[in-house]
């Protein structure tokens, strides 16, 4: 018997979903949808009487204060009448097999009142006025549902049972590779979604030739997962011949000889003071924190899944990186999250969207909601992030998620022992996320949504929270030897990695499943979420399982690490696949790539024509336009949706002061009640990506470092992370730009003695599709390196924020200003073209970092803001907004190494140029003299003071006022975009 329960809000005022539907329909240009009503629905299957369902409806599913409820058999009369006389009903259900956390929770709640249904599915119901089919479809698919995870039923439901799988009939399939030519290999790779090249497939064929057979499907899948770009830095780790502006160079392994090498050199130079603990080996990078703790960090991307299903993609992206930290050493406790999104412009016309692409605004709403719902439920503060806008991200949005963790010292090293049980813990395995690893290595197309729907996962945050609670308790009791997360590639990657040296035997029939019907291969490569794999000594297994049960977590032994160097896969005792670890991990053919990058050509600075007006009007307009530019504008609408204070450790929050101004970086305490803090800063310079990938990378890294220095971090203990998101790297130029970025990483790490501790890449972010007129359209992202800096603050009570504190203080500018407008916000706005690409004098910059840190340590700096997008004027405005205090500065005092022809342009350079590594500092008058003494070795100048007036006042080089803008106008401009969301 299948029952349906509907829960309605008592008052239409409480029906938020209806309000969103009506406004969404209006935005889509659909008339005639001025009213709507919605309900939460539940499909409940089982041999239940009407009285049982009534109890469930009233005691479990409905809040009697705010809601009403009605129920009947599916299709029954009670459910026919729409509320408020609305005639059309639209049902949105998760597709069968898609994770339905609400239904799982509801089922366990129902058991509490002693009623046990056999299956439950959640749904949302929407009632609308009469509309034509096209409008209904549009509302359904553009507003309410996503094809990748939902099904939509317009009109009353007519289903009679909730689908369940049927058992899989064992069969073993070989894949014939003999006699295939390159084109057939490529066709085969596409058909099976393997993302393997012809050369790689021929290597596989040769290997199996020596064994005298063809590979089984499960073996080929294992190889495809292990050799995927996602799992093994295939491109970055390859040999490269590069011809760049500094001459030709050859790498045997690009990543090893640039990023890794820089870290090795920094560590060697530190000698016995080396504070790196475990870098580029584990699931995250680990460094020393205090006498008792190490801290670790990882940043991941989840771009392709988020392009198709923003909510689920972003949520599981965050879920995955949290598990990376949980799966580091013997398990680290996640203490902070960060997220960065790169999307198309929010005011993109719907007509300019390529087919199959989600509008940037809906996409942003979705990814924010995904991070919010997952991060908040996990109880991990989301303390930092950014949103970068560029039309290059229209079809290939980027979603970066990062997590910081803390662990007891001495637990970073792990070792799997032969004979250890392989234990899978957490969520059950389903058909979700099949081929995620290989899918993420492919290009997107307009049919990706339909083709790869299976690769989209939906997360279940509470399962992950329970898993964290269990793992941390088991870790404290030392009940396992090693742990890793089940991410891309599922068990095949996790077990493959852990057993890379010893080998493993896995009984796939023992893996707990969400529903029957999965084949052995599907079980092996499923990317179902919220699972971890542990290596457990036989004597500890019982105790480990007890710990799991105490937290409501399922933990199951599914095999053993063997010691024979083979991965052996079994189904009911019968071997269904066998692979040599050495071939799996070292057999991948290395392909020499050619790369080329010509020196970025310098285009002289060209000021664009400005509308007529006084110099002050023009300047003020530029400033206000910059403040409301999408990259710069307040992200308060996002930040407030994230819990950034849970765990009670936040010290520098993302919004600061009475005016909620922006922070440079964020600081959290490592341990509650202890003074030592972790500072996180990020840098992203996407507008420079196409112009000069070396500069883009270097500036992003310096910005990330500057952001943590500005909070009070120690410049001699900064760990870096790189996250490369690139377009097509199969061309010489694409590869060349990647090499240039790697070189910049190497150089900056050495210059600042800041080692890279972890990183990740997502390549081939190219979209091929058709536009509205049917033409082929290819969209590639700008090369984008997200730099993350993790610093340490010795005593958080010395941390510094950006908001101005006290009228009468002196405002200093540290660092010299050049004419750097290439890739600047002013250039994006169209105010200027060309100009110098920012370059970094690393020696001067390093001196500056140390001098500033020393001044902060002494407590001389009451506010500090790193100059970034929009230059000095924007930084000033932001500090004014945060502190709700005025400021008066003279541009004539700004240390400047550029020259300009006239006073107006001279002012603009000083105000809006984006020369990296500069800081605005507020220093109480009483400390000014000592502050200046500490700055003797760096370019600096007192440029003005904090005032008690309600405005920002800027005096030009000619001595006349170029801006007098009230705090309110600055604040309104800065918040304009946030108000639209």
């Amino acid at each position: 018997m299948l029952w349906e329960v509907e829960v309605h809000s008592k008052s239409p005022l409480l029906d938020h979903a209806a309000k969103l539907l009506v406004s969404g329909a209006r935005q889509l240009g659909i008339g005639g949808c001025a009213r709507a009503a919605t309900a939460v629905g539940w499909l409940i299957e089982g041999s239940l009487e009407r009285a049982d369902v009534e109890r469930l409806a009233t005691e479990v599913l409905c809040d009697r204060v705010t809601e009403t409820v009605r129920f009947d058999r599916v299709g029954g009369d009670t459910l026919n009448r729409g509320p408020q006389g609305l005639g059309t009903v639209l049902n949105v259900l998760p597709r069968p097999g898609v994770t339905d956390p609400a239904a799982q929770s509801a089922m366990s709640a129902m058991e509490l009142v002693g009623i046990r249904p056999t299956a439950v599915r959640s749904l949302r119901k929407y009632w609308l006025p009469q509309l034509d089919q096209a409008d209904l479809d549009c509302i359904a698919w553009k507003l309410l549902a996503n094809e990748a995870v939902h099904e939509v039923v317009i009109g009353p439901l007519a289903i009679t049972q909730l689908t369940r799988g049927t058992p899989w009939n064992f069969s073993q399939t070989s894949v014939r590779l003999e006699g295939l030519d390159d084109r057939s290999f490529e066709a085969l790779s596409r058909k099976l979604c393997l993302a393997l090249s012809a050369i790689e497939l021929s290597t596989v064929r040769d290997h199996f030739q020596t064994l005298g057979r063809d590979p089984y499907e499960i073996e080929l899948e294992t190889i495809a997962q292990t050799w995927s770009e996602h799992c093994c830095h295939k491109t970055l780790g390859s040999p490269v011949d590069h011809s760049g502006p500094r001459g030709p160079v050859h790498f045997d392994n690009l990543l090893k000889e640039t990023v890794f090498a820089a870290t090795a050199k920094v560590r060697a130079a530190l000698g016995k003071d080396d504070w790196c603990v475990s870098v580029f080996r584990d699931n995250s990078g680990v460094v020393r924190f205090d006498d008792d703790h190490d801290i670790c960090i990882k940043v991941e991307t989840h771009n392709h899944p988020s392009a198709i299903e923003p909510y689920g993609g972003a949520a599981t992206g965050l879920g995955g990186v949290i598990r990376d930290v949980l799966g580091t050493g013997l398990g680290a406790k996640p203490i902070a999250n960060l997220d960065v999104f790169c999307v198309g412009l929010p005011d993109t016309s719907p007509h300019d969207l390529p087919a199959g692409v989600i509008h940037p605004k809906r996409l942003l709403d979705g990814v924010v909601a995904g991070v919010r719902d997952y991060g908040n439920r996990m109880g991990i503060p989301t303390i930092g992030g950014a949103v970068a806008f560029d039309q290059g991200y229209l079809a290939n949005p980027l979603v970066y998620c990062g997590t910081v963790g803390i662990m007891p010292r001495g637990t970073a090293e792990t070792r799997v022992q032969a004979g250890d049980f392989i234990v899978v813990a957490g969520g059950r395995t389903g058909r979700d996320g099949i081929h995620g690893a290989t899918f993420s290595s492919e290009e997107l197309s307009s049919t990706s949504e339909a083709q790869s729907g299976g690769s989209v996962q939906i997360g279940h945050a509470i399962h992950e929270k329970m898993l964290v609670d269990f793992i941390l308790a088991a870790s404290q009791a030392r009940l396992f030897h090693a742990i890793t997360d089940c991410g891309a590639g599922g068990l095949s990657s996790a077990v493959g990695e852990m057993g890379a040296e010893l080998g493993a035997r896995v009984d796939l029939d023992k893996v707990p499943l969400k529903y029957t019907g999965l084949s052995a291969t599907e079980i092996w490569i499923s990317e179902a979420q919220e699972r971890m794999v542990l290596a457990v000594a036989p004597g500890d297994l019982d105790s480990l399982v007890k710990h799991a049960v105490a937290e409501g977590v399922e933990a199951t032994a599914i095999g053993q690490f063997t010691g024979d160097g083979k991965i052996v896969l079994c189904w009911n005792g019968q071997t269904v696949g066998e692979l040599d670890c050495s071939f799996l991990h070292d057999g991948r053919p290395k392909i020499l790539r050619r790369a080329r990058w010509n020196k970025s050509s310098f285009t002289p600075l060209e000021w664009k024509d400005q509308p007529a007006g006084s110099a002050q009007d023009l300047f003020e307009k530029m400033l206000l336009d910059l403040l409301s530019a999408p990259d710069v504008a307040s992200k308060e609408w996002i930040i407030r949706q994230y819990d950034h204070e849970v765990q009670g450790t936040s010290v520098i929050k993302p919004l600061l002061g009475p005016g909620s101004g922006p922070a440079d970086g964020s600081v959290v305490r490592g341990v509650l009640g202890q003074p030592r803090g972790v500072a996180i800063g990020i840098g992203i310079k996407h507008h420079l990506g196409r112009l000069d990938p070396y500069a883009m990378t270097a500036v992003a890294l310096v910005e990330a470092i500057s952001n943590v220095i500005a909070c009070g971090a120690d410049p001699s203990r900064i760990a870096l992370l790189d996250n490369f998101c690139w377009g097509d790297c199969r061309t010489e130029e694409g590869m060349g730009s990647l090499v240039e970025a790697c070189l910049a990483c190497h150089d900056m790490a050495l210059a600042f003695a800041a080692p890279f501790v972890s990183g990740k890449d997502s390549l081939n972010n190219v979209f091929r599709g058709t536009d509205s007129s049917g033409g082929i359209r290819e969209l590639s992202i700008p090369p984008t390196l997200l730099a993350t800096a993790m610093g340490q603050v010795a005593d958080v009570r010395r941390a510094v924020t950006t908001d101005l504190k006290m009228a009468g203080s002196v405002l200093y500018l540290l660092g010299s200003t050049g004419s750097h407008f290439a890739g600047s916000q002013l250039e994006v706005l169209g105010g200027v073209r060309g100009g110098h690409i920012p370059s970094i004098d690393t020696v001067a910059c390093n001196k500056l970092f140390h001098a500033l840190a020393a001044a902060m340590q002494e407590g001389f700096v009451s506010a500090c803001h790193d100059l970034s997008d929009g230059g000095l004027a924007v930084a000033l405005a932001e500090s004014v907004i945060g502190g709700m205090l005025g400021a008066r500065v003279e541009l004539g005092c700004v240390p400047c190494d550029g020259t300009s022809d006239d006073a107006k342009h001279c002012d603009w350079v000083r105000a809006f140029s984006e020369t990296p590594a500069r800081f605005l500092c507020e220093v109480p008058r009483s400390s000014a003299e000592t502050f200046e003494r500490l700055m003797h070795d760096v370019p600096y100048a007192a440029i003005g003071e904090v005032t008690s007036h309600d405005r920002l006042e800027i005096i030009g080089v000619a001595g006349d006022s170029v801006a007098r803008v009230t705090i309110e106008r600055l604040s309104d401009a800065w918040r304009r975009l946030s108000m639209r969301f």
Binding site: A109, G379, K465
Partner: protein, 255 residues
């Protein structure tokens, strides 16, 4: 003088248990985090404690509604264990999700005959989760936790915090009974800081004994001066935060 023992009752998805324990520790209490499964298996364990706190989080994902399943579990598996605990002098505190849970038990605002809740915490008026700091005013009356508290700043972080009652007269009777002890107030510019559209700006309520108290704001997130978003503007950076007094009040009853 024996410091009181505090049971921090948690369920899957509870996530403010560590900082809540920390807050009790700072005031001399002896907190222990206990999983609801443990208490169901051994209900007598509650006799070891004098204070019970249900901390914030998303118990069971708040999947049907916030706090629903945890409350159902307490009602169906623990019977009137918590009522007995209160009746023998125990204190009960529900913070955020804990408040949402308490409202759905018989402990705070239930109909005396049916035992069903008369008030609820609905979705925020904005329809969104919100993390921000609010200004609060207290009229402690008999509420043990708020003794001596008049005004304080605390953060809220919730999606479902809009206090609503069955009807206007229910609200009035709670008001008359002095149960609406904590309310959102205005900031210095006179703007309301009510973050969720709560009826009567209600942020926290107590029962008729004053020993059971639930609130949406997070006092455990302001036990140290550096937790305030404007701490760098204040002179007293080494001190404690205004939320600590709620825990102090509870602990001091027993010591």
């Amino acid at each position: 003088m024996i410091p009181p023992r505090v049971i921090i009752l948690r369920a899957p998805g509870t996530n403010c248990d560590h900082e809540t324990s920390h807050a009790f520790s700072l005031t001399g209490g002896l907190p222990t985090r206990v999983h609801i499964r443990e208490l169901i298996e051994n209900p007598k364990r509650i006799n070891e404690f004098q204070i019970l706190c249900i901390p914030g989080g998303f118990s069971y994902g708040d999947d049907i509604a916030s706090g629903r399943i945890f409350a159902l579990e307490i009602r169906s598996q623990l019977g009137d264990l918590l009522e007995q605990f209160r009746d023998r002098g125990g204190l009960i505190l529900g913070i955020c999700n804990g408040f949402q849970v308490l409202l759905q038990t018989r402990l705070l605002m239930a109909d005396s005959h049916s035992g069903l809740p008369l008030a609820s915490l609905a979705f925020n008026e904005s329809g969104r989760f919100v993390d921000r700091w609010v200004k609060l005013e207290s009229q402690p009356g008999r509420c043990v936790f708020l003794r001596g508290v008049h005004r304080l700043d605390l953060p809220v972080a919730h999606g479902e915090g809009r206090f609503v009652t069955m009807d206007r007269s229910t609200f009035s009777s709670f008001e008359a009974a002095g149960q609406l002890v904590l309310r959102y107030s205005n900031d210095s510019s006179g703007k309301s800081t009510n973050p969720n559209g709560s009826e009567g700006d209600v942020a926290g309520v107590c029962d008729l004994t004053g020993r059971v108290f639930g609130l949406m704001p997070h006092p455990e997130r302001f036990v140290d001066a550096t937790q305030h978003p404007s701490w760098t503007r204040r002179s007293d950076n080494g001190g404690c935060g205004a939320g600590l007094v709620l825990f102090q009040n509870a602990v001091s009853i027993f010591s």
